[in-house]
């Protein structure tokens, strides 16, 4: 007995440690939060009461983190709103484009714009349809607003469009109201100009400009834009007719490729006559 007491006294720290560790494990196995008993409930209730009594003291750290969380939430909601608005706009545009085939006699191939490039004031767009879908060079592109451009290159699954707002673009056009003919050219930014209109001919603001049947590249009677300014050029016999394009090129996302190529016989004949004229002039 005395030996046992001596042993306990000698190793009391280790015995105590073992006992406390065993007690801790025992408590852990039964002391889950869900087993909130009477004594603990009183303690938690008291602590809660003290916490609520001091809850009026502002916590700068918590306020900062709450502020950050609210800003993140605000950003997420702003993104959601932007997406929602975008969906509404896209929905309206697609609905408008769905009606387009009803108003045109051409076969149309729908395509999405997947890229836009600008090289020295030459604006091009890439679409996600190509030769496999029946698209070839020389086909015109339109949307529900009007003329977009022309296909200048096509691979199997993609095609590149030369947009109307391109330094190289020349479109034979006419004033819808008076049938006056001219040539549409791009003058930078969002400005088209109808050229070769003599001062004596009738062109007014808000006149609609459409493609002319004289064009060998574009189908006739496709809307190009609306006249915004008519002014007399200095030292010239012609009007300067500024046209606002009907297509919004900055938001262009979906287009239709007109499934019709220019008549090759006509192009061949026109080229032949052109070359003959040049030869005569040079002689």
């Amino acid at each position: 007995m005395r030996g046992l007491i001596e042993f306990v006294v000698r190793y009391r720290n280790y015995i105590t440690l073992s006992t406390l560790v065993v007690m801790s494990f025992s408590l852990m196995s039964i002391g889950r939060l869900s087993d909130l008993g009477g004594f603990r409930a009183v303690i938690v209730g008291s602590i809660g009461w003290i916490q609520s009594a001091f809850s009026w003291i502002p916590n700068p750290v918590a306020l900062k983190s709450e502020n950050t969380a609210l800003r993140e939430l605000n950003l997420q909601l702003a993104v959601e709103v932007a997406r929602s608005r975008q969906s509404i706009v896209e929905n309206e545009r697609l609905r408008g484009m769905l009606k387009l085939p009803e108003y045109t006699d051409f076969g149309l191939i729908a395509a999405d714009i997947v890229g836009k490039t600008t090289t020295e004031q030459r604006n091009y767009a890439t679409i996600n349809k190509g030769k496999v879908d029946g698209i070839t060079e020389g086909m015109s592109c339109i949307n529900d607003a009007g003329l977009v451009g022309i296909v200048v290159g096509a691979s199997d699954h993609y095609a590149v469009l030369e947009l109307l707002i391109n330094r190289d673009t020349r479109v034979s056009a006419k004033v819808l109201r008076t049938r006056v003919d001219g040539v549409i050219q791009w003058e930078g930014e969002n400005i088209l100009v109808l050229k070769n209109i003599p001062r004596s001919l009738d062109v007014k603001q808000n006149d609609v400009i459409v493609t002319s049947s004289y064009s060998s590249k574009y189908p006739a009677n496709i809307v190009i834009g609306t006249v915004t300014v008519v002014e007399n050029e200095a030292n010239s016999l012609f009007h300067r007719v500024v046209v606002q394009p009907s297509v919004n090129f900055s938001t262009l996302e979906q287009i239709f490729v007109v499934n019709a190529r220019p008549n090759p016989e006509r192009i061949q004949l026109e080229r032949k006559i052109e070359e003959t004229s040049k030869t005569k002039i040079s002689q």
């Binding site: 440690l17 025992s26 408590l27 916590n59 700068p60």
Partner: protein
């Protein structure tokens, strides 16, 4: 008046019953302070462990046996007020008290607490405490123990050590 206070203080120091009651009251106050007010000192969800500092203080001042008992009771108290799983803090603080007890020097407790060695002991005990506590704390969660421990355990140890600097400086000035 000063004489009376001196008598009271010496009485308090020499009378173990009064001393232990005092420890109990301080532990109770610290646990309430921890739960109610330490949110103001919170840095990335990490707070200093005042009861751990107190446990180490008792272990150095009173010895390993008392340190373990104090650690166990402080841990139980903290588990109760913090709605943690009962026993986790008790186990961690018991082990911390056990480790801190090895630095007990009879009648030199005040000198030790007032020195930088106290901070080293706090860091060591904090490391042991958080290692054990985090092991049981993250058991039900699907996270890596070492990542969690390195992220929170070491941060809590460091924060507790830095906080104990104030106690060390206070005791140091009083000792002088």
């Amino acid at each position: 008046m000063a004489h009376n206070v001196g008598i009271r203080r010496s009485e308090y120091v020499t009378n173990p019953v009064l001393r232990y009651i005092g420890y109990g009251v301080i532990a109770l106050l610290l646990s309430v302070v921890h739960v109610v007010f330490l949110r103001f000192m919170q840095v990335s969800s990490v707070t200093p462990d005042l009861l751990l500092i107190f446990t180490v203080f008792i272990a150095i001042y009173e010895g390993q046996f008392t340190g373990m008992i104090a650690g166990f009771l402080c841990g139980l108290l903290f588990d109760a007020v913090s709605t943690d799983v009962i026993g986790t803090n008790a186990l961690a603080k018991t082990l911390a008290g056990f480790v801190a007890g090895y630095f007990y020097h009879e009648n030199h407790g005040v000198q030790f607490v007032g020195s930088f060695n106290f901070l080293l002991v706090i860091a060591l005990c904090g490391f042991v405490h958080n290692l054990v506590y985090n092991f049981f704390f993250i058991r039900p969660m699907q996270v890596s123990f070492w990542i969690f421990f390195l992220q929170y355990g070491l941060a809590a140890t460091l924060y507790t050590t830095v906080t104990s600097l104030f106690l060390m400086l206070y005791i140091n000035r009083r000792r002088d």
